[in-house]
Homo-oligomer: 646 residues x 2
């Protein structure tokens, strides 16, 4: 994120000499990123991570895909320390969570000599050309090459787009063919007679037969009723929740009508596109533990229901295997490096509202084995800790079986002032006066937000380190106020950090605190028992937000009843809520309490494995502003250098 561009305050005197050639004022992200020549990625893979040459696939000189076979080799190996980085409720400018994650790792690896691996999400390519900057960190704490990170990388998101949209095409085509054909004709085409006169079910069809309670394996043995049940998915068009996706900010695709070609016989349908990272397939990728688990999850995805109310899955459409084939390379995490040569695994980037907002289980698992018992895996959770960290714990860790050793919560004086009552912070307009001059009271008042995040985090039974991401406008007294408040709220440590302007050298204090925190005993517990009814789970999360209660729209009530009947009530909950407040109202800053959390609707991602209540309207397809970022993006044809990325 290119948002933290102000200069840091004076040094504490504890920082080591930076290894990077630091310039002041801090140059632009792309200028810093392009000033450091990346090491050949095979060096990172083999020297830093101990991978053998057959455990990774080069993708050019600075990217590699790590094969999952490494997990077989390291089956019995001990896990390293597992650190999750979350944040307080942010301003729209972002508080430097990715940058802190990267800076902390540069410090652990390049200054403290620890084995370390950063696990981060792959950013969506769409916003790169819109209004958002890149997502490779910032300043002297970045993942390089940042062009690769922000563009195609190794094609995982493109694979998701392809798989998602193949399923979409399959849905509409199936409805089209079912409408035009008799049971018999459909059956004849689905199970054709081959050249030798034989008829057989494709293996994927046996899954549907099993679901229907039909044990037969010879097509000739099916009764007409069984044939009809088998060939007719009878999808209710109004029930379809599966939308097409594209990794482009294209607001005109939010709401569309399809099927208006002359040959589609008037079978029009209203639907729309989301941005690709909002696809359930992205969440599946992030939550799969291996190829066969991914195969099962992709097959289980529900696209809607039949007119009789039965969930219709990807495997009912016969497509779960094909989707897996499209995703077979994407399941390998991509290895990159930081500016200071520490390894980074970039893998998956699900939305943090309609999905769980965390990078992949596979990458974390590989990392924890590779760094070994004395090493560290630092993984970032999206949005504020109320969202990203809560989902890290209750969805991601529940699925993986992994348990964190410590949490880092990133705070800024700027955001705390906002929570303390400062004027709204708006991207693209100058910061109001109170953010640029000392105001300890405002900071102190705002620390209620930080305190609640700390309390929630310690509730999981792990130590919490607060990283105070310092800006040049922060006064020593303001930083001190945050520190005291953090310790008072139960943080294990609170450390001022200056990694944006100094790289790993600026985060050594933070790194030391994290090392110490990881030596503490933990007593991990989930926020809720996953076997509770859907509403009980929602209410447990709502209480952690400070809500007094939860209200449900009639749609939400109906969906909860439907999903309970379908057997999806044993899934964890993934709240789709604003990141700007603990509550549903982005304007309620600080640590609101006593409010009623309104659930507008409830959806399920049965393949990924969660139910997601909608608290307000979530934007799943961004748009382009009048002057998009693409105006500045070009290529130097002589050198091939990318210009104008930010």
């Amino acid at each position: 994120m290119a948002t933290n561009t102000v200069e840091p305050g004076p040094l504490t005197g504890e920082e080591p000499k930076p290894l990077l050639d630091i310039k002041t004022p801090t140059p632009s992200d792309i200028d810093i990123a392009q000033s450091v020549k990346p090491k050949h990625i095979s060096q990172i893979a083999e020297v830093k991570l101990g991978l053998s040459p057959d455990e990774y696939e080069l993708q050019g000189p600075s990217k590699a895909k790590v094969r999952l076979s490494v997990l077989d080799r390291l089956k019995g190996a001990a896990y390293g320390k597992y650190v999750v980085v979350a944040g307080i409720s942010p301003t729209p400018l972002g508080e430097g969570k990715s940058t802190t994650t990267v800076g902390l790792c540069q410090s652990l690896g390049a200054y403290l000599g620890r084995k370390v691996l950063t696990c981060i999400r792959q950013p969506s390519q769409g916003p790169t050309f819109g209004i958002k900057g890149g997502a490779a960190g910032g300043g002297y704490s970045q993942v390089i090459p940042m062009e690769e990170m922000n563009l195609h990388l190794t094609g995982d998101i493109h694979a998701i787009t392809a798989a998602n949209n193949l399923l979409s095409a399959a849905i509409d085509a199936r409805m089209f063919h079912e409408q035009a054909q008799s049971d018999e004709a459909l059956f004849k085409r689905l199970c054709p007679t081959d050249k030798k006169g034989n008829r057989a079910f494709a293996p994927v069809m046996l899954r549907r037969l099993k679901k229907l309670g039909i044990e037969k394996t010879d097509p000739a043995q099916l009764t007409p009723e069984e044939v009809s049940a088998f060939v007719r998915l009878d999808i209710d068009p109004d029930s379809i929740t599966w939308r097409r996706v594209m990794d482009v900010n294209d607001r005109f695709l939010r709401g569309i009508t399809v099927g208006q070609g002359t040959e589609e016989r008037g079978q029009e349908r209203k639907t729309g596109f989301d941005i690709s990272v909002a696809s359930e397939i992205m969440a599946v990728l992030a939550l799969s533990s291996n190829l066969s688990d991914m195969r099962e999850r992709l097959g289980r995805m529900v696209i809607g229901n039949s007119r009789q109310g039965a969930p219709v899955t990807a495997d009912d459409l016969g497509i779960g295997g094909a989707l897996t084939v499209l995703m077979r390379d994407a399941i390998m995490p991509t290895l990159l490096q930081t500016l200071e040569g520490t390894p980074v695994l970039v893998h998956a980037g699900p939305f943090a509202n309609i999905a769980h907002g965390n990078s992949s289980i596979v990458a974390d698992e590989i990392g924890l084995k590779l760094v070994g018992e004395e090493g560290f895996v630092v993984t970032e959770a999206g949005f504020g800790a109320d969202i990203g960290m809560e989902k890290f714990m209750n969805i991601k860790c529940r699925a993986s079986g992994l348990r964190p050793n410590a949490a880092v919560i990133v705070a800024t004086v700027r955001a705390l002032k906002m929570h303390g009552g400062g004027a709204p912070v708006v991207a693209g307009t100058p910061l109001p006066h109170e953010y640029l001059t000392e105001n300890v009271d405002l900071v102190t008042q705002g620390c209620c937000n930080l305190a609640r995040h700390i309390k929630n985090a310690t509730g999981y039974g792990i130590p919490v380190v607060v990283a105070i991401n310092a800006f040049s406008t922060d006064s020593p007294a303001e930083l001190e106020a945050v520190k005291s408040a953090a310790l008072e709220a139960g943080a294990f440590a609170a450390v001022v950090t200056r990694h944006h302007s100094l790289g790993g050298a600026g985060a050594v204090g933070l790194a030391r605190a994290v090392v110490a925190a990881c030596e503490q005993p933990t007593d991990f517990k989930f926020l809720y028992d996953v076997d509770l009814p859907i509403k009980d789970k929602i209410e447990a999360i709502a209480r952690s937000y400070g809500a007094a209660g939860v209200s449900y729209s009639p749609e939400a009530e109906a969906q909860i009843a439907k999903y309970t009947a379908m057997g999806f009530d044993k899934l964890p909950i993934c709240m789709a809520k604003t990141q700007y407040s603990f509550s549903h109202d982005a304007k309620l800053k600080g640590a609101p309490s006593g409010f009623t959390l309104p659930i507008r609707d409830v959806r399920a991602s049965a393949g990924a494995g969660f139910v997601y209540p909608l608290v307000g309207n979530m934007m799943t397809m961004p748009g382009l502003p009048t002057r998009p970022a693409y105006y500045d993006i070009d290529i130097d044809a002589a050198t091939g250098r990318v210009l104008g990325l930010s």
Copy 2:
């Protein structure tokens, strides 16, 4: 193509012992492909092509991207022999053109010891899951790994999808913002004042200013009229020819309405999706000679016109540079190998009707330099020779400046029987009787189709070798009839070839004939002078089809007038015509003549650099059948092996 599955006839006795472990009957394409372990691609790159390690980028162990820097190193090097493979007018089953291209190269390289490089198109991924098989050749003449070839490969098509759709999003967003804002507001946003109080045009904006005849570089100096001209593209929504694309067979996207989201203020518009390979960006990729040429072509692409009739380009939208950045990896051809270890460059795959149907200039150019004076580059032209070869000569060679040494025309007894009056050949139904038993008369009558293709090809001043792709049902007399007819029509040689069932060993006769043909002198000439008016060029091509004349719809007349006024009349012509007949009517087999070729409409791809008349309706988005190929596609989770691709 997996269509040529019948067994070959008896050997001639001239074939060398196959190097491959040949099985009879010929196993399925995927079984053969997976039975050969590919050499590490660095071996192919360095040993077979003499590339240095910094001239290619590994993409895993069996794919590499070749950097264009190799052309700098080989600036003064002599070109190898340049052979284009085309076909007679095919049946719907295909006549094995890709397979012949691959088999010929296996023979040249692995049996005759020549330096050789195969240049072929990247197949679209969409049809892999629909009804078509793969496009990596077939039998014992294949490009491997065939899974890579038929799936994501190195992401070039995904890059095209991303770039195409970013431009689409930009068009609709620009119309939306122009409608909502005054000239002044638009100008303020397009040229904002920076933190230091300065205002500047982005470099890409200077292109638009220049086009408008405004020489100023300081935004403050523009008059209100100039501001208005600059900020208002004033796109006529009805003129927009730019459609979105997706590499999926999704018929329900052929005709859609966009802009129906609640926030798009009712600015609905009818449009649709094509399959990605139909994007003009694919044609641009294929016709660009280097990165800066691609930058210029992408910027020149016309998306429609203003209400005043001026063409609106990608650079008018400020997006040409960003599109180039998205395409910067795609401009590097992808190196693969054949089953017999000869090198293959896969690069670009434009449609052969609305585009020119040939792989990239860059790949051919790199190949011709790398194989050296004694070596061979064999490149395939899509569809029948009337389309693919004509466009190879008049569009691709005109753009590249390269000149072929010989053409190979692939013929089958099956297709010639059809041209001689055999019953229609329909995919998925058994072949009629006349195709399975000897019928020399039918073959002889059908040779008029072959003869006209030969005549057209020799008209370019190069020798023509006819490759008779033999099936087991072909009798010696039938094969002999084709041979005589070919020689009589002016072919330099005509050779029976059995590469499908024998690999390169089966194509040695063909390879020898090609080597001999390439020793002949050539006297290259184009079919038409590119500076002629649009209609004159269309008529020259129509005459080569056998047409007596050309008729134009009122729409076609209007478009020709419009493009002439816009200055696009000096571009070559790219006929969008059926491949199943020389004429516009797929049912007119043989060598029809005297017909009038009807031009329904005319479009331009100003960036790629051609005008394309529409002769009939072209399908630019396939659909999925009742039982798509995806039913059989799955992954063996234990080994990661792809199952069921064909």
